[in-house]
Symmetry: C2
Subunit: 541 residues, 2 copies
């Protein structure tokens, strides 16, 4: 076995100029064209020696030494999924024709090394997603500490397989050692501006796994609608959803999303954004929102959550108790962005409260008062929380493990410097608001972002744990969300997974063209980067 080579930046540049593969691929341009790893692994070495994969003989199996056995449903599911991605169907192996030929790769052994393979667990921020993959005859071996790393390695293995001139699946002798650069690699979808049917969410979770994303940030409710069906407060969706039957996520739907995501190593972090962005909450819960005044009398409209009533906090306590049990992830996103003070300012009871508390006319102090109590409520459920940057900016006291999400592109570097300077972990979404569309290849802008390009110490840089591509829902629903998200979000996927030195746009273009065709082949309507074609065009409409 030959040793793995870590890509040094300079070396990568050379490798990239040769078509990114490192090895003896002279004259093998066709193979280079066929194999298109995305995101690019951290360490990679391949050779021109190719093995064939027969759909009747090739198997993906649990290695004998593996701590995960045949009852490990995450892996057993993934084996079947990747077999189908590779061979296109699940034709029954012909047991009688087990003769193995010289050039055959007969199996991929998946070897989970930790005592606890985490088969029944959930991925977390601390999850080790690294894996090592060695493809050599007669067996390939995929080694990972746990099932989560194994899932990432299975995706990579499937991406290494290419068809030769006879349509036979081939894979080259390869060694890969891989791990993500950032631990939090998310996609934000909003399901309140437009209701997203379950199948749209599931399809996008599939696409996320193909791109090694590991967080689904589900901005599930907001001003316009409340599609989350709460067991404790069923009136929230009964009155706040676009339709209480056809436009809601039932407890069973939510479970399905979480399990579908878990099977792909994806965390589901729900966002319940308060005290602003809550118009739809108010129709179901009496007195939750602040009555706005026009002069000395109520105007009939309502503002953000009423922060001066104990009933508001009682509600939040019960509500987040439910949320903390429904969603297994250690984090809940609590929002806290864009709080509009005008309604609070108009309300005489709020004005009185401001005086009592000595807040003067600084309504951000009232906002902090609310948030502080909310954070204590959520902390009592043993959950960590994520918040949008305004919560930090307003000086709210935060738990040490709080994740602050930086979303404002204006003064982004300064904000990263401040948040990390204060010792908080941070994720970046500011440069990746994919709802903003423009003519041409905008994926390149997303690709060129360097998340750590801000003034700060090494310790500060380490606090940036990742980023999110956000597709807010003003202009997307089931009709156009998936092609608008992919492969534009793939650019963010590689930025967050691959080494910092992987920045060659031309090389990325060539790989991404193939990667998007691979997604199309797997049933995801990922839109084209530019002029061209896929061997298998999209079969849907």
């Amino acid at each position: 076995m030959y040793c793995l080579v870590k890509f040094a930046p300079l070396f990568l540049a050379v490798a990239v100029s040769n078509g990114w593969l490192f090895g003896d691929f002279v004259g093998k341009q066709k193979v280079l064209d066929e194999i298109s790893l995305w995101p690019l692994p951290q360490k990679f070495q391949s050779s021109a020696v190719a093995f064939k994969l027969s759909p009747t003989r090739f198997q993906i199996v649990q290695a004998k030494q593996s701590s995960a056995g045949p009852s490990c449903s995450i892996l057993e599911n993934a084996f079947r999924r990747y077999f189908e991605y590779i061979f296109g169907d699940l034709k029954k192996p012909e047991k009688s024709r087990k003769k193995v030929y010289d050039s055959d790769l007969v199996e991929l052994q998946v070897w989970v090394t930790s005592a606890d393979p985490e088969c029944d667990g959930f991925p977390s921020l601390q999850t080790d997603e690294s894996y090592e993959l060695s493809v050599d005859e007669p067996s390939a071996v995929l080694k990972a500490a746990n099932v989560w790393g194994a899932l990432r390695g299975l995706e990579t293995f499937s991406q290494l397989v290419y068809e030769d001139d006879y349509g036979v699946n081939n894979i080259n002798k390869t060694d890969i050692s891989d791990f993500p650069r950032f631990a939090h690699r998310g996609i934000l979808l909003d399901s309140y501006r437009h209701f997203l049917p379950l199948k749209v969410i599931l399809a996008n979770l599939e696409a996320m796994a193909m791109n090694k994303f590991n967080v689904f940030h589900w901005h599930i409710v907001d001003d316009h609608s409340f599609p989350y069906m709460s067991r404790t407060f069923p009136e929230l969706s009964q009155k706040g959803a676009y339709h209480p039957f056809t436009h809601v996520y039932t407890p069973s739907d939510v479970k399905m999303v979480i399990e579908f995501a878990r099977m792909r190593g994806i965390r589901v972090i729900p966002e319940f954004d308060t005290p602003g962005h809550t118009e739809s909450w108010g129709t179901g819960i009496k007195d939750l929102l602040t009555p706005c005044y026009s002069g000395s009398s109520p105007s009939g409209t309502f503002g953000t959550v009423n922060p001066i009533l104990n009933s508001s906090y009682d509600f939040m306590t019960q509500f987040f108790k439910e949320i903390s049990t429904v969603f297994p992830d250690a984090y809940i996103h609590l929002g806290g962005d864009e709080v509009d003070f005008s309604c609070w300012e108009s309300n005489p009871d709020i004005q009185k409260f401001m005086v009592q508390q000595g807040f003067g006319t600084d309504y951000s102090k009232l906002e902090s008062f609310y948030i502080q109590r909310l954070l204590d409520i959520v902390a009592a459920t043993k959950k960590g929380y994520m918040v949008w940057q305004e919560v930090f900016d307003n000086g709210v006291k935060l738990k040490d493990d709080t994740v602050v999400e930086v979303w404002m592109e204006n003064k982004m570097e300064e904000e990263l410097q401040n948040v990390t300077g204060a010792g908080f972990t941070t994720i970046l979404s500011a440069p990746w608001y994919l709802d903003y569309i423009s003519y041409g290849q905008d994926w390149q802008h997303y690709y060129k972002v360097e998340p750590l390009n801000f003034p700060g110490t090494d310790a500060q840089k380490k606090l940036v744990i990742g980023g999110e591509a956000c597709l807010w829902g003003e202009y997307v629903d089931a009709t156009n969300l998936t092609p608008r998200l992919w492969p534009r979000a793939s650019a963010v996927a590689e930025r967050l997974w691959s080494d910092k030195s992987v920045t060659d746009v031309d090389n990325a273009y060539n790989r991404l063209v193939q990667h998007r065709c691979r997604m199309v082949k797997r049933g995801i309507p990922a839109e084209p980067l530019f002029v061209g074609h896929c061997r298998q065009e999209y079969k849907g409409l």
Copy 2:
């Protein structure tokens, strides 16, 4: 029967401020919300009197006086299509329960008045698409000179139907007299930058009919690929398509597109653009393209069609002879845009020819020389032709019935003035290049265009026969074309069909929101205009 009222601009403004319906609809906002005609008819009068439509009793039938009988497949097909749009399925009528209730609308009688209903014909530029629709008990009557007007009226009838609180289909007492403002209302799709599978083209023809578009401008081949499978020159697609089997339109495919379009009153105008935009032609046809030179020797690359060889014209003669028989429409689009002279300039044989012809160094004279001969070739097939504006700009002699397509947004008004001033019919596509996307509701820009807003006499204005919404294919294929085209193209549809005075954007927004949900309900993944929901969201992915 009460008389029809022509919308005067002022009157319309009043009507629009009341929610666009003219009639006694006070307090009937719900009904206003449900009925959303798009494009708005020319003359329209409705009443609050509503009739019910029973799926087991209601029928669409040929009127006894109609010149079209039960063998008129266009209408028989359309009856079934619109019945399904209205009722969602084709449940067998229960003959035993024919009891008619007072408030029932039992049938829509379709009455074609001309001696020749044109059941087996094709729509043309001269086609009369006007119709009159009267909805009253017990029967509604749709009257049109021919099947084409009847198709437009059937679409309008189906748009008048709305569901009441019980889910029962209702329709109000209504009188409509309608006709298009412009005769040529087209959609351009290109199938060469990305191959568009047949089902994508057919789905978009369906959507076109829902919007009363009547021309499919099929930019079928171009530089990047040649998917049109020619019987005379099979090598064109054999060598020029992305793939000779999976990425071509066979003669049978083309026939199907034409017939599917005919059934919906849509003309299919193919574009075979020369002498530029022909790179893909060159791989199949030896010596068709000009060899480019680098200094004194051929560079190995090829330019536009070689205009100095008789073989080029022999090829075009045979090729367009085929095209003229395959495509029944009276017009072929011959392109003629963006001719790059650099290759011609480099070629010594071309240089010699320029001297012989006395063209000096004015290569636009050579271009005109080519186009002139091509036009004569096509004219000999008895076809009319459309060309892009450069052909006119370069002073090529054109047949009187030539249609000049104005596509450059820069100096658009001046060009319209010049083309119509020279007495040529014109269609406008310059403001409607829908491939250019931007954030937000760009449909409003398309909607606000007034095609006749250029300096010119009434006679000149009459020469503008319509327009086209163009979705060039750099960034669209089967994965994203349909939601990107609809409902953005719907804005163009109303501009080209409805009265000039129909310009209220807020009113259009309200109707278009409903119209796009109607398209979604009918299976077209038309994207959302903005935040909101449809009763029935898109069922595909």
